[in-house]
């Protein structure tokens, strides 16, 4: 469309001669027409020297008019529909930002109240008004129960984000209940603070009774009172020990037995005899004889036990010792504890060994004094 064209108006009616000469020189004639006694030819401006030389050679008088950008503009303007469309589009894009065709209200604040507030400020859907977003925000924040408001204009859409204040009962008022303290010695593993300030970091060891969540929050340097609320979890350790000695004294049966029989008749019992051995265990059997006059007979057998020195190796007892130590350590865990880890160490002690089982568990350790 924006081509640079030369227009030669040649004072001659011999258009054929001119056209032939021009085309023979390899120049394309964009347009050839006769205007009265003149011949008008349009060519690309880059062929100007050739055309001028040719016309001079042929001794024609001519007038050269060069069309550049303005010619293109005029050509474009001549296409009335296209020009009108372009103009309309330009006007549309220039004017539409001034209009507010749609108002989008986001948030939990009543939409009707927002729209009526905007209307009182001269903003309505379909209306034309200059929108000052910061001014609108200020006005919306003045509405009852508005916690936050933001206004943004995107094209012809006005987007309002507005949130209501929380209901009164959801606001926790400081009750001055003091800090939360640790209920056990532990290593802090994780903590959730709802309000207040955590006083320890993960991995720090704390003693029972130490404060874990303080009843204030820091605003800059200032401590603002707040109810200490949260959950603090810590790792606790429980140990149990079992000892192994190679020689133990056990009571074992010697093989000697002694049987004693006693009777009981109508509430009267025969005299009891003492046990014949220092260490023993007994087995008793009771039965009744007689049909008319029942006699209760009790037979007691004493088995003698003697102290015997027994020798074990550690390998024989290792499994049982470890199991019993671990069981004893696990038994100390509180019900709500979450078992994290466990391990067993064996250390020599004297002529035996000490088996120590440790269990690591996570428990909630926050509490109030």
């Amino acid at each position: 469309m924006l081509k640079h064209v030369d227009c030669f108006t040649v004072e001659s009616s011999a258009s054929t001669k001119i056209a032939s000469a021009v085309t023979k020189s390899g120049v394309k004639i964009l347009s050839l027409k006769k205007e009265g006694k003149n011949t008008v030819i349009h060519t690309n401006f880059k062929h100007r020297p050739v055309i001028i030389a040719l016309l001079n050679q042929l001794c024609y008088n001519y007038k050269l008019v060069s069309y550049g950008f303005m010619k293109s503009v005029k050509d474009f303007a001549a296409r009335k529909g296209l020009a009108a469309g372009l103009l309309a589009a330009m006007l549309f894009f220039m004017l539409t930002p001034l209009y507010t065709l749609r108002i989008e209200v986001k948030g939990d604040y009543p939409k009707d109240e927002v729209l009526s507030a905007l209307e009182s400020l001269g903003i309505s859907a379909g209306g034309r008004a200059k929108v000052d977003c910061s001014l609108l925000e200020e006005s919306l924040l003045k509405l009852d129960g508005v916690a936050s408001a933001s206004v943004e204009k995107k094209g012809t859409t006005l987007i309002v984000n507005i949130l209501s204040e929380l209901p009164e009962q959801d606001v926790y008022i400081y009750g001055g209940t003091g800090p939360l303290v640790a209920t056990a010695d532990a290593v802090v593993s994780r903590q959730i603070v709802y309000s207040g300030t955590a006083l320890h970091k993960k991995g720090q060891t704390i003693r029972a009774g130490e404060s874990v969540i303080a009843d204030y929050v820091l605003v800059g340097e200032e401590k603002v009172p707040a109810t200490a609320r949260g959950e603090v979890y810590g790792l606790v350790y429980y140990t149990a020990t079992a000892w192994f000695t190679p020689e133990v004294i056990e009571l074992r049966e010697s093989g000697n037995t002694f049987k004693v029989t006693s009777t009981e008749f109508l509430g009267a019992a025969s005299a009891k005899k003492d046990a014949p051995y220092e260490n023993y265990y007994t087995e008793s059997r009771t039965y009744v004889t007689g049909i008319l006059l029942p006699v209760r007979v009790t037979e007691t057998t004493y088995y003698e036990l003697v102290e015997t020195r027994v020798t074990y190796t550690f390998e024989e007892c290792e499994k049982q010792l470890k199991a019993s130590a671990l069981e004893a350590a696990s038994a100390k865990l509180p019900l709500a504890a979450s078992l994290k880890n466990k391990w067993i160490t064996v250390k020599p002690a004297g002529n035996g060994f000490v088996v120590e089982a440790t269990v690591e568990a996570e428990i909630r350790i926050d509490g109030r004094l």
Partner: protein, 84 residues
């Protein structure tokens, strides 16, 4: 098929090489390919030399566009074509 027969009739080879091609676009324009020069031109008539004859395009407000040594486009209100 039709073109093949013409090629046979004309002794083979390329049709475009031997014969000019005249395309009439309604009453608005005539495209002439393969002419051998403009013989006469006015706002009522344009005459072109072809290989063995002359082509006359008549009409009103005629204008020749895109004229080269072999091709031309005659626009305007075309009323007739004739060969002589």
């Amino acid at each position: 098929m039709f073109t093949d027969e013409i090629i046979k009739l004309t002794g083979g080879g390329s049709l475009e090489f031997y014969l000019p091609k005249i395309t009439v676009l309604g009453k608005r324009a005539v495209v002439i390919e393969g002419h051998r020069g403009v013989v006469f031109f006015s706002s009522d008539e344009a005459k072109f030399r072809l290989k063995n004859c002359m082509l006359s395009v008549t009409g009103e407000k005629l204008e020749v566009k895109n004229l080269t040594s072999s091709d031309a486009l005659v626009s305007g209100a075309i009323s007739g074509l004739s060969y002589a």
